[in-house]
């Protein structure tokens, strides 16, 4: 079925649009295959609102048919559109039929499931071309750039046809002394074939963070020699490694009943297991739903608000994610031991913890490029099932399937780190907000599909543009820079006391008046800092130095003259 067949009414005139903080507008509403377009055609400088249909999470319609009037006269309908970026819009559409038509078109078109019908496959801006490399980096490139890996690690292409592990990329980094055969055995012993692979090697002491899925020990405590050898090779003779299991000890025990399990002490004698309970899947999704609901009701009393905030448990998830990431960093940086992180499937919380740990540890991942590379490596290539997890956001009435806002949770955690270290990250909150939006609905192909394999099959790389590449174009990147950035080589341990964590108002209260004052203040900070940066040279590290360069120049001149005297 052609997309256009879903569209019964393409154009409606005289529609009233209501958005937060803006006066109501009248104009024309237009539905296309991928967009909802509202245009205020009153004067020359017309204003337009363009919303990706995929961004629409829920649509509510209420139709008023004034009793006693002839059909279509005086009847009108209101559509409430709730977007995945948490914006809520209202459209008053004259004519009941038009209203219902528009609503049903939006419903049908916003829930398309076929990847190749999605907008990224049609997005062809004039300034971008489809030729050229897609993405920022590949496993091979990463390996080549990271000299500290060369000695003990190698790139394995055992998964080149995605048969060993469907959710892994074609190339992964593993210990040099472990051959592909062992990897295949280990993969059979791990859920979804996600055998332990390298996630990060610490620049200070060469210790690594590995990630995998749970071992399939099952009820009768199976073991796998190759898997044990693989992990043994990771720590390479050193006395100890840590396994951070993202389930409680009890949950890990229970997992054995369904074929899963954990690394037992007797077979992995050099590894110490630490259990940390993390909520997953549906529970986290419901947290998001509850939180957004609490944020969008302005009538709450303080007590009610606090109780709803608590009840959503969202901040508890932020708290535990940051705590566990902190624990991983503690193992690597302070104790000097390698770490293996896994939960059950190894595609959600595992990635959350390992990428947060890297952000805390690795100065390279705190730049714009570094952070996007981290996301590409640890989320996109590592096989976080974006399509399943981000099918719906907080407003959807659809029955939950595999939705889970783990990526949003990551962004929230990064925001918390940024709040505590406002000078340490090169990017600003704006980048996080942009990503939070793009992950649910995007012009770009970056967040499409669930794995490298699927992306290959759908031809994502050939037929869509890459978000990360476009974010890094100098003119675009500038919007996302943190003017206060001053690189530091040290680990940035965030405080995880509940008093130190806050609701991410920039995201969750984005469409309230709150955001307005904050935006002004932020601009003020920027203008102050930019004033100081005015004469910044091309060299970024020079930025702060040149803060006072004009004053300094004259200062030096005067000094010279004084010396002459």
């Amino acid at each position: 079925m052609e997309l256009s067949e879903h569209i019964k009414t393409a154009n409606v005139e005289d529609v009233t649009l209501r958005r937060p903080f803006h006066p109501a507008l009248r104009g024309t509403l237009c539905v296309t295959s991928h967009h909802l377009l509202f245009s205020d055609r009153k004067d020359e400088a017309s204003w337009q609102l363009l919303i990706l249909l995929k961004n629409i999470d829920a649509i509510e319609k209420s139709v008023e048919n004034l009793f006693g009037y002839p059909r279509a006269v005086g009847s009108s309908g209101t559509i409430t559109i709730k977007c995945k970026d948490l914006l809520v819009l209202q459209l008053e559409i004259p004519g009941m039929e038009e209203c219902l038509n528009i609503a049903s078109s939006i419903e049908a078109l916003s829930s398309l499931e076929s990847v190749t019908e999605m907008y990224p496959f049609f997005y062809r801006p004039s300034h971008l071309t489809l030729n050229g490399p897609w993405g920022l980096s590949s496993t091979e490139q990463y390996y080549k750039q990271t000299e500290r890996l060369w000695d003990r690690w190698r790139v394995s292409t055992v998964n080149s046809d995605y048969s060993v592990c469907p959710s892994y990329p074609s190339a992964v980094i593993v210990p040099r002394e472990v051959d592909d055969d062992k990897l295949i055995h280990s993969a059979r012993f791990r859920q979804g074939g996600r055998f332990p692979v390298l996630s990060y090697c610490h620049h200070r002491n060469g210790m690594v963070i590995m990630r995998s899925s749970q071992p399939l020990t099952g009820a009768n405590k199976k073991r796998c020699k190759e898997d044990e050898l693989l992990l043994q090779a990771v720590i390479d003779g050193s006395e100890l490694g840590y396994i951070i299991d993202l389930r409680s000890a009890q949950q890990a025990q229970q997992a054995r009943m369904t074929g899963g399990g954990f690394e037992s002490k007797s077979f992995y004698s050099h590894w110490k297991r630490i259990h940390r309970h993390h909520e997953r899947g549906k529970v986290v999704q419901e947290s998001l739903i509850k939180l957004v609901e609490a944020c969008s009701d302005p009538s709450h009393s303080v007590d009610r608000w606090l109780s709803k905030l608590e009840n959503s448990k969202w901040l508890s998830h932020v708290h535990s994610a940051l705590s566990t990431a902190g624990l991983v960093v503690e193992c690597v940086e302070r104790d000097g031991h390698s770490v293996l992180v896994h939960g059950s499937e190894g595609t959600d919380n595992t990635l959350l913890v390992s990428s947060l740990a890297q952000l805390i540890l690795d100065p390279a991942s705190r730049t714009v490029t570094g952070f996007l590379c981290l996301l590409e490596r640890e989320w996109i290539q590592a096989g976080h099932p974006f399509q399943q997890r981000c099918a719906h956001s907080a407003y959807s009435h659809a029955r939950l399937k595999q939705e889970c806002p783990i990526f949003l949770l990551l962004l929230d955690c990064v925001w918390q780190v940024w709040r505590q270290f406002p000078l340490a990250l090169e990017f600003s909150e704006a980048l996080l907000l942009r990503l939070a939006q793009e992950v649910y609905a995007s012009n770009y192909g970056t967040f499409l599909c669930n794995s490298e394999q699927e992306r290959c099959a759908a031809g994502v790389k050939e037929n869509t543009h890459c978000l990360f590449q476009s974010l890094l174009r100098p003119d675009i990147e500038e919007q996302y820079l943190n003017p206060l950035y001053e690189p530091t080589d040290l680990a940035i341990w965030p405080s995880v006391h509940p008093q130190s964590l806050q609701l991410w108002t920039g995201l969750f209260l984005r469409w309230t008046e709150y955001a307005q004052n904050m935006e002004e203040a932020r601009e003020e900070v920027w203008s102050i800092v930019k004033e100081h940066h005015e004469q910044a040279g091309p060299d970024r590290t020079n930025n702060t130095l040149s803060t006072h360069c004009d004053t300094l120049t004259s200062f030096e001149n005067l000094m010279d003259e004084l010396t002459i005297l």
Binding site: G326, Q499, T547
Partner: protein
Amino acid sequence: MEHIRTPKVEQVKLLDRFSNKSVTGTLHLTATHLIFVESNSTSAQEIWILHHHIASVEKLSLTTSGCPLLIQCRNFRLVHFVIPRERDCHDIYSSLLRLLRPVSYDELYAFSYNPKQNDQEREEGWQLIDLAAEFERMGVPCDQWQLTDVNREYKVCKTYPRDLYVPITASKPIIVGSSKFRSKGRFPVLTYFYQEKKAAVCRCSQPLSGFSARCLEDEHMLQAISKANHNSRYIYVMDTRPKLNALANRAAGKGYENEDNYSNIRFQFVGIENIHVMRGSLQKLLEVVGTRSLSMTDYLVGLENSGWLRHIKAIMDAAIFLAKAVTVEGASVLVHCSDGWDRTAQVCALGSLLMDPYYRTIKGFMVLIEKDWISFGHKFADRCDQLDPDPKEVSPIFTQFLECVWQLTEQFPQAFEFSEWFLIQIHEHVHSCQFGNFLGNSQRQREDLQLKERTYSLWAHLLSEKQNYLNPLFSPSVAESHPVLEPSTQAYHFKFWRNMYNQYDRSMHPRQSILKHVLTLQESKRELEGTVQALKTKLQKFGVSTSPLKPQTPPRERSLPPRPQSLILGAPLLSRKEVQQEEDKEVFGEEAREDAPASTGGERTVEGSSATENGYGELMGSFGSKNEPGVVTLEFGVARMTC
């Protein structure tokens, strides 16, 4: 001095409140301070605790490592010492018990504190704030309001100041009659005049109406206030108590205005709880945020159960109501509670702050406190437990006011000239008894104590280090375009004030602060410009023309401006380098020493964080105690900063 039995104890351990860390050092007891000096010679941190700041001392039961001594301070610091010998502990304990309960005003620190100023400087300090000038600024006296000398000798009301402003039509007999009908004689007087609409904010205490009593003079008084404002036919009477409390007071012969007896008043209850509820609420709040390994759930539930933010919102709501009535309706408002010195002070002060941008400047805020709190007789001595305390009188009323202002600074980052450090510093000194401003319960008592002759003014001290308290985002143009603040009272705007209540728990604070960074940038820019100016003048002296300057590229490298270490208490800027006097050490003691290493580079900021402080959970096994890698040694910088 005679109370100090053991002036010095060695090998005392100081335990961290939230982790298992501890440091060893020496404890000194002086006439004014309890001082802990860490013995590690390279990174000796010092903690100075003023005796007046100590709220309670507790000796816990003996443990194997010694005798624990728990000291809780009014500025929300909590220190936990372990003293090796029980006898020493007991000596310190009993000395402290005596020292922290001064029996007469003369024992307060303010009377011995000497910042090495001469008498003239001291006098100038006291003259900084002039309330007569402030009323003049508001446009009073005017054709409707005048200064009355009825309370010149404190005969009509002991707790009011000498100078009071009343409507021109209120004659002396009316004033005296009205004062007899008001609790503690606190009859209605002007506290703020909104010139634009000629609307007045007046304050008083509750009427002694009982179930049916009335007083014609009091009714005349309210009428006079009403008539002084031609813009509105009615005045609001705000009773800031919950209705139930007001009803209960009627049985004691007090109560509230009967609308039938007073013409043209609109009576309104606001529902701010009394001092006892507030005291209990803060107690609960502090218990929650002082819990070790607090979970997010317990934190949020505890925050809710304490009711603290609910009370803050109630005060804010009342102030907003007041500001709206005055600025939008142009009506005059009379505010009272029971005695008119707690809730009334909160609401009048906060309401004025919303209406008048002047009160959002550093100087203006001092004036506001001087007017609505100090001169109108908020009982600082009782509420802050200065002398011979009655625990039932202690209550964090003024702290709540400061917090309300902080909540506003969070909503309007550009509207205030000062940052939260100004508020925190004021809070610190309300309890320190180091300056004369907040001593005593009323103006009259302050005069009896001859404070202006015998002590120094806090305001002069704060103004001298003004640059530490500036808000770099302050924009006077915003104040011009939006003179009246209209805060939102949606629940999510009310946040926990970590920098106040967990002020001394360093591990909780952000490691880097935008505020500080921007301030530092501005400061170093100013400094450089100063240097350039100085050199220019020098050159001119030599007769060299300074322009045009030849452009020089590339700019020479320069070490980074010293970056503030931690958000809290933060070594604000360069002035910190100046030699600190004793009083600064008390507050900034630990930071004063951090200046020297600060110049070693920007790295220090980040070291402020370390794993152990943050409590991700201790690593198990013997491996945690092995030699730590190089980075950790850097962390000693932190250990020093952390108390």
